[in-house]
Symmetry: C2
Subunit: 183 residues, 2 copies
């Protein structure tokens, strides 16, 4: 079923996906034409690689989801909660800085949904460990905690004019998440 792809095919597909992310982040309604132009290929080539516009968006989401999963799964869950939190944040930021559009796009794709569910599980588990370790307040709803965390990451990843490195950004997120900005 899965015949090995030729190297140039692979390169073309990557170029298209990267361009799609870039262009669509700027304008979610951008046409295939513009994506093709940004990829450096002809529009017909895009259609040959991705049968329909939906198929392209789907592939984009799947591609981003896989990197997302990899970033999350690369974090050792045996580390101390604070270390784990920082690592996870930094890893996710690294992916989200480059694939923000693809990662935020709602999709019906099963694999993407599975990844998000899996990440959510790990996130909740991580917060659970943090709470057990006394790092998190016990009276905060888990769902709200998670939303605040996602929100901070989103807010940080949205501005790529930030020149700070990923670890600095992650540190700021974790600090704000835990202590807020009040005295």
């Amino acid at each position: 079923m899965e015949r090995t792809k030729r190297a140039d095919t692979e390169r073309t597909e990557q170029a298209i996906l990267r361009a799609a992310e870039r262009v669509l982040a700027d304008d979610p309604a951008a046409s295939m034409e513009r994506i093709a132009a940004a990829s450096g290929v002809a529009r017909t080539t895009v259609h040959r690689r991705f049968a329909t516009r939906d198929a392209l968006l789907d592939a984009l989401s799947v591609w981003a989801a896989r990197q997302f999963a990899a970033a999350v799964d690369a974090v050792p869950d045996a580390a101390p909660p604070l270390v784990e939190l920082h690592q996870a944040t930094a890893n996710v930021l690294r992916v989200k800085l480059g694939w923000g559009f693809a990662m935020s796009r709602p999709t019906a794709n099963a694999e993407v949904a599975a990844v998000h569910a899996h990440v959510l599980d790990r996130c909740v588990a991580m917060f659970g460990r943090a709470r057990d370790a006394g790092v998190l307040r016990a009276d905060v709803e888990v769902d709200w905690a998670r939303r605040v965390y996602y929100g901070l990451i989103h807010e940080t990843a949205d501005r790529r004019d930030d020149t700070a490195d990923v670890d600095t950004l992650a540190a700021r997120i974790v600090d704000t998440l835990l202590h807020g900005i009040g005295t």
Copy 2:
């Protein structure tokens, strides 16, 4: 230049704007057809009231911006920082829960830009007063504080399945903003 509108014209325009918010929040690429249907008017009527699609989106943004400005300006800036913060949050939430799409949409409209700039000014001023009153840490960058604040409001307004009332939501936002979710 500004002839007084007939009452039914006014009603129709309102209905269209409300429907547009509702429909576009669900699908930002929805057609005029769908918006018209949701408004309970014919598609041609929408075109009579708003010459082009852009004009409609623009009017929608302006309408939301005015309510936004009103919500912010209704907060007395002589109140104690914590009270002011809570009031502002609740007022903005009230508007944003119903006009989230229109308020988040990027636009080149001058009036909308002016409103956002004005709100930003008031926000920064409010944070300044809060800091002077010892409510905010002095070592936090103002811009980051503002982004976290906006992010929390956004995160809260995104889920209207929350049955909690606006004041409860605002209280949670302020608490999280100031103290985070850590111990």
